[in-house]
Symmetry: C2
Subunit: 339 residues, 2 copies
DNA sequence: CTGTTAGCGCATTCAT
DNA sequence: ATGAATGCGCTAACAG
């Protein structure tokens, strides 16, 4: 029948069936210590006959660790977060660690609940993409005080948690180099379409844009989604824009932007050049393909794995902050650098 | 410091600090039974002072339930699965249940591992989007034999697990009605761009297409991703297609298809009409917006919630199979029905 | 209303 | 190499 009760078969049952002690069953199944081959096979067949499956809750309570790593994402809908989740899953599969993912649903309250849940379930480490640059501090600090905690992609300053992410300002520098090598910025209008600086990534990308492009360019801020990109396009068109170079804070924003611009009859890159950020898979199937600043997801997940395997402790006891350099990926949505 | 050891504060510590028994601490914190207000406040301040946080592993071991529901997705990159995960997260937040998500990474082996992990951790229920229509049977059966198990979106025949999904054949019927009301099918070439029938959804959508459109239309089968859509477009163009009505098995396929067709200079819907399936958010920001068969995600997650809350048992003990009718959402990628 | 006690399932001592 | 005994942290019986 569907949904039978939890497996009632316990180690004691297997031990009885095999005529050995529970200790021998435990040692046989975990293979952590040598066991007489004869008893070993008796235990294995007994376990098989009874359909025994280890109760991981009992094991976790006893060992104090769960062979589990938690990941808290703000939201499943953002494809960049999904990509990180997928890569992390793979990274931890090899060492025999299960990655469990929890969505904060863009809410501080839910984020805190996720921390409580994972900490209370004795995860070996906790990876968090914080919802808010400032207000996630409570969640992050709580997490960091009880378990190896790594902030991913975004960070909350002043917490004791590790951090892995890209250098967003450097990413904007790459964009500036690319754009300025092909466009006369003095003649060509440009604008930044970003997100409200409530997350460190949004904040740093905005800062980076200002630093490299100067303070005179128009700036439109919304949220990290395609709908905002569409709205921004509508606004630009209403303001009389008919051409320009649009630097965005995320691929999803760029996608919405391009879609609306094209629907209004403009050409990309003919009228507008558009540049994204993140490097999600979608950039290759936009038309035109999107020029973007790619976050090296493999290097990021690798860094996290190493941090977790070292027990989350740096040599000097200080939290590690690993910033990886992103790379420009040329698409057809912006002019190639003229040689 | 980053990654301090697990919180060593236990109920016994709080009880000692407050001068009460652990039972009183438990009762106060869980609020399950009345406690003298005086003791109650002493317990609460003691817990606060010591920074006590309940160990959910101990609670789970004791109670046999974890207030947790597991979700196993084949993969995080498919936006429809992400959407389901997000909606399920919300659906279970209210009843105080944490949804934990595990990616099978499109592998049967990993899928089975996910089942073992969740079952071993005493989830109250397990929701699975099976990787394979046939070969996931081992995972699903194992799950169903130990915990309330619900197959979502796809199903493995012959298992004892519940199932929630849409009627895919009916979806294809809606597509046929829409297309035939506006296009003379006898004159207008049509084709199906689907996925290899290794999942029930791919299978049923293919069957549905054949049933309603007949067996004479060309059929191209690949996988549920945009890259396949692009490749299919390339193939159609190479075969000399210059116009037609293209019915797909998924929005992501349709997106890749449109992108490549447009890049090759064709017009949608001028030359090609394209129709998707699933109803992910992206359909609204494609240009043109995509006509699609929308899966009513809210109704699906609601059905799951009800199933879980009823303890995963149907009235008659038989597994429940809930098929929900999808709905056609008109976009600009296909002709509107002529009145 | 509160305290004492027991035991969930397991891995690990400590003895043999 | 094996078995007996212990206790991880918690809640539910039971007694008071």
């Amino acid at each position: 029948m569907a949904g039978a009760g939890p497996n009632p078969v316990t180690m004691a049952d297997v031990a009885r069936q095999a005529g050995v002690s529970t200790a021998t069953v435990s040692r046989t199944l975990s293979g952590i210590r040598a066991v007489d081959p004869d008893l070993q096979s008796r235990v294995l067949t007994a376990a098989d006959v009874l359909g025994y499956r280890v109760n991981l809750v009992g094991r976790t309570l006893r060992q104090g660790r769960s062979s589990t790593v938690g990941l808290i994402v703000p939201d499943f809908e953002n494809p960049f977060f999904s990509s990180l989740a997928q890569h992390l899953t793979k990274a931890f599969a090899a060492p025999g660690i299960d990655l469990l993912v929890f969505s904060a649903d863009s809410s501080l309250e839910r984020e805190l609940r996720g921390v409580h849940s994972f900490v209370g379930r004795q995860v070996d480490a906790l990876v968090v993409i914080p919802v808010h640059e400032v207000e996630s501090a409570a969640s992050i600090s709580l997490a960091a005080s009880s378990v190896a905690t790594i902030q991913l992609d975004r960070q909350v300053p002043g917490t004791e948690a590790h951090s892995v992410g890209v250098s967003n300002r450097h990413g904007m520098r790459l964009v500036h180099e690319h754009v300025s090598s092909a466009v006369d910025l003095a003649r060509q209008p440009g604008a930044f379409v970003g997100a409200m600086p409530t997350s460190s990534s949004a904040h740093e990308r905005l800062d980076g844009f200002r630093k490299w492009f100067g303070d005179d360019e128009p700036i439109l801020l919304g949220s990290f989604d395609a709908t905002w990109g569409q709205e921004a396009a509508t606004r630009l068109i209403a303001d009389g824009w008919t051409s320009g170079t649009l630097v965005t804070a995320a691929d999803v924003i760029a996608t919405g932007l391009m879609s609306r611009l094209q629907a209004a009859g403009f050409r990309v890159p003919g009228d507008f050049r558009v540049i994204g950020f993140d490097g999600i898979g979608m950039v290759r199937l936009a038309s035109p393909t999107l020029t973007t600043v790619r976050q090296p997801v493999e290097a990021m997940t690798q860094a996290i794995r190493e941090l977790v395997e070292s027990g989350g402790r740096a040599a000097n006891g200080e939290p590690v902050s690993k910033r990886i350099k992103p790379e420009l990926v040329l698409g057809a949505s912006s002019p190639a650098a003229t040689v």
